[in-house]
């Protein structure tokens, strides 16, 4: 089985880099981006299978990035990360084509499970 190709997008660098390392430990191919523009560049040049996308970001918001990714390649699955009490954003993201949403701070096992589900749904 190929390694999962994942793109992590979050403006908090410490968070995103640590999470990336943890996922790599779990045998995944992880790229990181700290803003929407960079993320879209990755998607265009080296499209991942799943994008884990923070909703609350300066510049392009998570939902805008989601829309653009879906416009580029609708097969790419997106899992949104939201703050608590921002369930509305999660629901809105689902309507825009996100695979699921998780509330921060996240549980690594839950994330891995969701990622597996997302990959499975692509097949």
């Amino acid at each position: 089985m190929d390694r999962m190709k994942i793109l992590l997008v979050d403006d908090e660098k410490e968070f995103v880099s640590t999470l990336a390392e943890r996922l790599e430990l779990r045998n995944m191919n992880v790229s990181i981006a700290t803003d929407g523009e960079t993320a879209l560049g990755f998607v265009e040049n080296d499209p991942p299978q799943v994008v884990v996308l923070d909703v609350m970001m300066p510049g392009l918001s998570g939902l805008e990035v989601l829309e653009k990714i879906k416009a580029m390649d609708s097969r790419i699955q997106v899992i949104l990360l939201t703050g608590h009490g921002a369930t509305k954003d999660g629901i809105r993201g689902m309507q825009l084509g996100a695979f699921d949403y998780l509330i921060k701070p996240i549980d690594i096992d839950e994330l891995v499970e969701k990622l597996n589900e997302a990959i499975k749904s692509m097949a």
Binding site: E12, E14, F15, T18, R22, G83, H84, G85, K104, P105
Partner: protein, 573 residues
């Protein structure tokens, strides 16, 4: 004056005071007093003026009604007197023309004339013939022995020779009856002058006065020029006495006068002067009889005034009482609304603050979570090394603490979310457990046993999560406050009917009296003294009602309290 009045009433100030939120009952009392005084003055003064005007107008019209007939009566009687005297004067004058001096000098003839006069006319007493030049009585027929008496030096003789006729004042004559004398002079062509004189008793005067038909308390009499009674007065004296009432002289009309008589009685006086002789006819009526109807009316008027005044006062008092109470209630309600709003604002700003804090903490928390997670991963994937177990445990407890922090921030965010009013489908059991999460610590410290009996298949309901959280938070807080340490709180949910779910919170705390139970949902009612705002349960009540539900309370002192909350399955909004 106007300024002082304004100052005294403090109208503006009292209204201003009422609009202040912290108005005390003394200000309402002042306001009530001012309105009452003002309203009473505004209503009673015009009423009083009306009564006064009525009083005077009626009095004057009544007086006029009394005056006119009295005037008429007086002038009629005066004419009767004048007619009576003129008739007798003319009669004597006619005799003086019909007969010559020689004929009248005949005693038999004169006697015959007197006889006829006495027979045909009332009052004639005697008849005398007097020499016009020397005043000697030539012939006399009558009860006195006056033959030969000389009148030359008497006033009346002078007057009759000057004017040709004379009517005397009343004098006591024959058999002590009052009389008057009438004399006429005859100047013959041959130059002879003689005087015919007669005495007339005044019984007729009394008859004429009696004919006026006056009532028993009234009086009528004749006075001469000097104010000597010419007839008997019922009230003021006998004939020939001096009258104590001073009647103004002069004038031909009938005059009306009001005064006090010498006895101090209020009288009503009508008088007229006869043309000749200079007599005055006087009618006296005591005011009390004239105004008998007036006095009756006066007391009626007073009674009506009194009754309406009392009525006005009662109505004003009741009305202002009601009015001021309404204002007080309105103010009170406004105050409640204001405080609720304030409370809401306070809660929502706390909510916003909490949300801000939670968001800010959430990010570093996420980083800590990942870093610690990475350490855990690294330890897990690394080959065994010294103290690997220990590291693993340490990282595990960091992650546990992060989890606890996460729970706290989630709760804070949940609290913030409560400020937004929105209906969603929710599970009441879940909500209650969530709220209980806030109490766990306190319950643990105080060793309070919280029992749950939540219906397993309780249908989800459409309601406002935040508002419901507040409802249960308030009720559970109350329960916690009511129970002693090591007390017991029991929470149950069940499906009441097809449309309603119910929850109950029972405690075995201090309970409440019936009186307290009655007021428990009223705003500002509190038994916590300085700790409570008295708003908690009133807000709770307001929310439950707003969500279309109902809330009940049962309590027994020293046994505990049970709150029951009923919520509709479908939102009413």
């Amino acid at each position: 004056m106007a300024l002082n009045l304004k100052k005294w009433f403090h109208i503006r100030e009292s209204l201003q005071m009422l609009t202040d939120a912290d108005s005390s009952s003394s200000q309402y009392r002042l306001f009530q007093r001012n309105i009452r005084v003002l309203m009473i003055v505004l209503t009673i003064v015009p009423l009083f003026m009306m009564a006064l005007i009525n009083y005077h107008q009626y009095q004057s019209s009544l007086k006029q009604e009394m005056i006119d007939p009295t005037k008429l009566l007086v002038s009629k009687t005066r004419h009767s007197f004048e007619f009576f005297l003129n008739e007798r004067q003319s009669l004597i004058k006619s005799i003086s023309y019909f007969y010559s001096l020689d004929e009248l000098s005949d005693e038999k003839k004169l006697n015959h004339i007197l006889f006829i006069l006495k027979k045909e006319f009332i009052g004639f007493v005697d008849l005398g013939l007097i020499n016009g030049s020397d005043g000697a009585q030539i012939r006399y027929i009558g009860p006195y022995n006056l033959l030969g008496k000389n009148y030359a030096n008497q006033d009346w003789f002078q007057e009759v020779t000057l004017k040709g006729t004379y009517i005397s004042n009343v004098f006591m004559g024959y058999r002590k009856f009052p009389h008057i004398a009438i004399a006429v002079q005859r100047l013959e062509e041959n130059g002879n002058s003689w005087i015919l004189r007669t005495t007339i008793d005044t019984t007729m005067f009394d008859n004429l006065i009696a004919a006026m038909g006056l009532d028993a308390e009234s009086d009528a009499f004749i006075l001469n020029k000097e104010g000597i009674f010419q007839t008997n007065s019922r009230l003021y004296g006998k004939v020939l006495e001096q009258c104590p009432l001073k009647i103004p002289a002069g004038g031909n009309a009938t005059y009306i006068d009001e005064r006090k008589d010498p006895n101090g009685k209020d009288i009503f006086l009508a008088y007229t002067h006869l043309t000749y002789p200079e007599y005055t006819l006087v009618v006296v009526k005591p005011k009390s009889t004239i105004f008998k109807t007036w006095y009756a009316l006066k007391s009626d008027l007073f009674l009506v005034f009194l009754a309406s005044s009392i009525l006005i006062v009662i109505v004003v008092f009741r009305l202002t009482g009601i009015m001021v109470n309404r204002i007080r209630e309105a103010d009170h309600n406004r105050e409640i609304a204001f405080r609720e709003l304030q409370h809401h604002h306070k809660l929502s700003s706390i909510g916003r603050l909490a949300a801000g804090v939670a968001h800010e903490i959430n990010n570093p928390l996420a980083i800590i979570n990942e870093k610690a997670g990475l350490i855990k991963d690294l330890i897990q994937y690394a080959p065994d090394f010294a103290q690997k177990e220990k590291f693993s445990t340490l990282v595990g407890s960091i992650l546990q603490s992060v989890n606890r922090c996460r729970t706290i921030t989630h709760r804070l965010l949940g609290f913030a979310k409560r400020m937004e009013v929105e209906v969603e489908t929710l599970d009441l059991n879940e909500l209650i457990e969530e709220v209980l999460g806030f109490m766990e610590k306190e319950a643990l410290y105080r060793n309070i046993d919280i029992g749950l009996e939540l219906a397993k298949d309780l249908p989800r309901i459409d309601s406002d999560r935040g508002q419901l959280q507040q409802v249960f938070l308030n009720i559970l807080n109350n329960a916690m406050a009511a129970v002693e340490d090591e007390g017991r709180i029991f929470i149950a949910t069940w499906e009441k009917d097809a449309d309603t779910v119910a929850a109950s919170v029972r405690d075995n705390g201090c309970g409440m009296s019936e009186e307290t139970c009655r007021h428990i949902f009223e705003p500002f009612f509190t038994t916590k003294k300085e700790h409570g705002t008295g708003l908690g349960l009133s807000i709770t009540y307001g929310i439950v009602k707003k969500l279309g539900g109902d809330i009940e309370v049962e309590s027994k002192e020293l046994e505990g309290t049970t709150f029951k909350i009923f919520l509709p399955k479908k939102s009413i909004t």
